[in-house]
């Protein structure tokens, strides 16, 4: 193999507009981000139960350090892991192949989006090293805490850097979504109708639509907040606000306005994070069960419905924030409504794998884990959707358990499933075919992670029910009158045993991820080579022409045409061995096709 010249390296790996390389760049960024974010969360958990523990090279974790950890952990995980990896990372890698396109619609915009995201990450991380430290107002940055630089340590330069980082990220994300939408609408190959699009593509499509709508509102809110901080305006600062002996004499703004603008973005944001995973789970369950996705058209409809409803329910983050109680009721209804399309998806998954005796590859295991975690985390959603219950549970660890189970665990399980599944396509290059990750290591990784996930987050529901609030830098050592524990101290001390268990489980969970890293690095170099379609998949990304290894020149690339919907597997009689017959989307029609029985979707394919 020829040694790569430095100029070639720069051109093909840094300044590239090839969508596959850009996808891998995003995935590497997300991997670095998730490692940092996990480390930060470990520090938080350790500090909560062992407050005297000294961080090497730093000393004890002070309250401002803890809150900075909270802020950066939330920001990095939600933005730089869960918004980049599923949508831009795997999207760039797989989307064009799944719709039969040669490239994304705007390759240079694609590259620009990635580098802007990378700059945003660097800006965010740099906020840790500036005087005052990182921001301490959480990923939600409520004013006036975030609007007044003297309201806390890290709220001056650290807060500005946070705002700039997120603003850059919002622009990059919007640009990337424009790319995704135009690609899906205009770059599909012959025969790829809307109804034949794989559900992953529908997930990316809906998430991109949400991104287009939501991120601009965040950008506007950040602009207004920056004006409040530096241009003497009063969008979010009420007149007479007295922070740290500094009286705000300007106009009369409303902190609640920020909450509305932020959560109008913030709620669609979490759906952006999970929608691609929902689509991927349907496709993977079908693939490894050798079955069609149950109720395919309903799944498309529920994806779009979740996207649409997701714009209408931001107020459920604000039930006790000072909203009109009637508004709270209205948001409660729309929040409950979204439970229905989500339940429909769960029912479809259960029906797809029902009596299918699937092959338990690691990707399938992680998809099943996604189903389990999504159900568990999702079922606490309707509880939190009721304002009277949210009155007790708001900002307790019950909420933290809810969204961590869905986003941190189910969302990440989808990313793991995607990695194990698409590893052959990730690693295929012109010189060698794709590789497979190790199955035994993958299975061990899965079981450790699943057990760890439940061990960490199930008890968190109980500490939340006990009243443990979020964002508390310490649960102990808060003095009461006469040296005895205050009522608050008593309440918090009741949660310590469970918190200790959670911390041990978290250390276990984080350590188990080293298995994945080890598997990843080893398989990159020594993994067994894969055939062109190792999972017997039916979707277009497994077409030989989409694989960089298959040597084809432009002139003899056969026209890629799609002839049917995905997941056409030959049905089998009970008792017979699962047949090997499957009909990829690109295989031309044959007579045998007509013997496939129609499922519930009876319109002609």
């Amino acid at each position: 193999m020829n040694p790569i010249q430095s100029k070639d390296f720069f051109k093909s790996y840094i300044a590239t507009t090839d969508h596959r390389t850009i996808g891998i760049q995003y995935l590497i960024l997300a991997l670095i981000s998730v490692a940092i974010g996990t480390l930060l969360s470990l520090l938080m958990r350790i500090h909560l139960v062992w407050p005297g523990w000294r961080l090497p090279l730093h000393g004890p974790i002070l309250p401002e350090d803890y809150l900075a950890l909270v802020t950066i952990h939330g920001t990095i995980m939600l933005f730089f892991v869960l918004t980049t990896a599923p949508q831009a990372g795997f999207g760039n890698l797989i989307l064009p192949a799944q719709i039969g396109a040669r490239s994304m619609a705007f390759p240079m915009l694609n590259a620009a989006s990635f580098w802007l995201t990378a700059v945003a990450l660097l800006t965010l991380l740099s906020s840790t090293f500036v005087p005052g430290g990182a921001a301490i107002s959480g990923w939600t940055a409520y004013p006036p805490l975030s609007a007044v630089p003297s309201a806390g340590p890290g709220q001056a330069l650290g807060m500005d850097l946070w705002l700039i980082s997120i603003a850059l990220f919002a622009i990059a994300s919007t640009a990337s979504s424009i790319n995704t939408l135009t690609t899906i609408i205009r770059n599909r190959c012959d025969g790829m109708t809307w109804e034949r699009l794989p559900l992953t593509v529908w997930g990316w499509f809906t998430a991109a639509l949400l991104s287009i709508i939501a991120f601009s509102v965040l950008l506007a809110a950040i602009l207004l907040l920056l004006c409040d901080r530096h241009a003497g305006t009063s969008f979010f600062l009420p007149s007479g606000d007295l922070v740290n002996n500094v009286l705000h004499r300007g106009g009369d703004g409303s902190p609640l306005l920020w909450l509305h603008l932020f959560w109008f973005f913030g709620h669609p944001e979490v759906y952006i994070a999970i929608l691609p995973g929902l689509g991927l789970t349907s496709m993977l369950l079908a693939n490894f069960s050798h079955r069609r996705v149950f109720a395919y058209r309903t799944m498309i409809a529920t994806t779009l419905l979740i996207g649409f409803l997701g714009i209408l329910l931001w107020g459920h983050h604000m039930f006790v924030a000072g909203l009109n109680p009637f508004a709270s009721s209205a948001f409660s209804v729309s929040t409950m409504a979204i439970a229905l399309p989500a339940s429909a998806k769960v029912l479809s998954w259960l029906a797809t794998i029902w009596r299918s005796k699937p092959t338990y590859k690691t990707a399938m295991l992680f998809s099943l884990g996604f189903v389990s975690l999504f159900i568990t985390g999702g079922l606490t959603g309707p509880i939190l959707a009721q304002p009277i219950l949210d009155e007790y549970l708001h900002n307790t660890f019950f909420v933290a358990a809810h969204f961590h189970l869905i986003m941190a665990m189910a969302g990440v399980f989808a990313l793991y499933a995607a990695t194990y599944y698409w590893f052959p396509l990730l690693t295929a290059s012109r010189n060698h075919p794709g590789r497979l990750m190790s199955e035994p290591l993958g299975r061990l990784h899965f079981w450790c992670t699943l057990v760890g996930a439940y061990a960490v987050f199930l008890p968190m529901h109980l500490t939340g029910l006990a009243g443990e609030p979020r964002h508390y830098a310490q649960l102990t050592g808060v003095p009461g009158p006469g040296g005895a524990l205050s009522p608050t101290g008593v309440l918090l001390s009741r949660t310590i045993p469970l918190n200790q268990f959670i911390t041990y489980a978290a250390i276990f969970l984080a350590t188990a991820q080293l298995l994945f890293l080890f598997n990843l690095c080893r398989s990159l170099r020594k993994g067994p080579f894969a055939t062109s379609n190792p999972w017997k998949a039916t979707t277009l990304e497994w077409h030989p022409a989409m694989n960089p290894f298959t040597p084809t020149t432009a002139s003899d690339t056969p026209a890629v045409t799609v002839h049917r919907a995905p997941c056409h597997y030959q049905s089998t009689e009970p008792g017979r061995e699962m047949g090997d017959s499957f009909f990829p989307q690109w295989a031309p029609d044959t007579v045998v096709q007509s013997t496939i029985e129609n499922t519930a979707d009876t319109k002609p394919e």
């Binding site: 009420p238 794998i353 299918s356 005796k357 389990s372 309440l491």
Partner: protein, 241 residues
């Protein structure tokens, strides 16, 4: 009930029991659905392979309809409870107390015998001189206002709290009274409730407000009505010498 009610702190408010019952109902339903879904998942994975299911109505729409009815009834029940505590204001005979959250303490103000709160001005705030709320001494109604850092309430009487925040958004929460409401600067937000059981309870801040958020706690003491009256009288004697 044991597994879920165990972590819940004992309730001491009038609206609490209904809330607790509804919460426990929801938790048990969630647990039941969780178990059912996982049972179906495992059953489906372990059973022998068969031809795929086709009945959209039986598998999707019927369960969705059942779930819809379930969620709707839970929502209606919850909205009734919410309306009971939030849609209407406090009764006219409720005890008025003002709560002010500052970084990082809670202050409570009683209006005194004239039943009127005095005017406060942010320019006059001087916690070091004993005036953390900025009471305007030129206002005749301020003289009998009593400011404490401990909330003392009578049992069995409705209380109307007026929540203020001086600097940033704080979250006023009394878990054992199942009460939570953010205090937003620039807004005066009212919540009303009735404490039923005498005792000492924790008041927490539940909205991230800065460095000292974790130690922005206070104590609620609920006294029998006669003891409350004598406490209030003793405070007023101090206020108006």
């Amino acid at each position: 009930m044991a597994i879920f009610s165990w972590p819940l702190p004992a309730d001491a408010s009038a609206h609490g029991p209904a809330l607790d019952r509804h919460l426990l109902l929801n938790l048990w339903i969630a647990l039941a659905l969780l178990a059912l879904a996982h049972l179906i998942l495992f059953a489906g994975l372990l059973a022998r392979r068969r031809t795929e299911a086709t009945n959209l109505w039986r598998i999707e729409y019927l369960p969705l309809a059942i779930l819809g009815v379930l969620f709707a009834s839970l929502t209606i029940k919850a909205e009734r409870l919410w309306a009971a505590t939030r849609y209407t204001g406090a009764s006219l005979t409720a005890l008025q107390v003002e709560v002010t959250g500052v970084q990082f303490a809670w202050y409570f103000r009683y209006p005194g015998p004239d039943a009127t709160f005095g005017i406060t001005r942010p320019q006059l705030v001087a916690p070091g001189e004993g005036n953390p709320l900025g009471l305007d001494s030129t206002d005749p109604h301020s003289a009998d206002d009593e400011v404490t850092s401990e909330l003392v309430l009578p049992a069995g009487r409705e209380v109307d709290l007026r929540l203020n925040a001086q600097d940033v958004i704080h979250g006023f929460s009394i878990p054992e009274l199942r009460l939570k409401q953010n205090a937003v600067p620039g807004q005066a937000i009212h919540v009303h409730f009735t404490a039923t059981t005498p005792g000492t309870y924790a008041i927490l801040c539940t909205q991230l407000c800065g460095l000292g958020h974790y130690r922005m706690n206070a104590t609620l003491r609920v006294l029998p009505p006669d003891q409350f009256a004598s406490w209030l009288a003793s405070k007023q004697k101090v206020a108006t010498p």
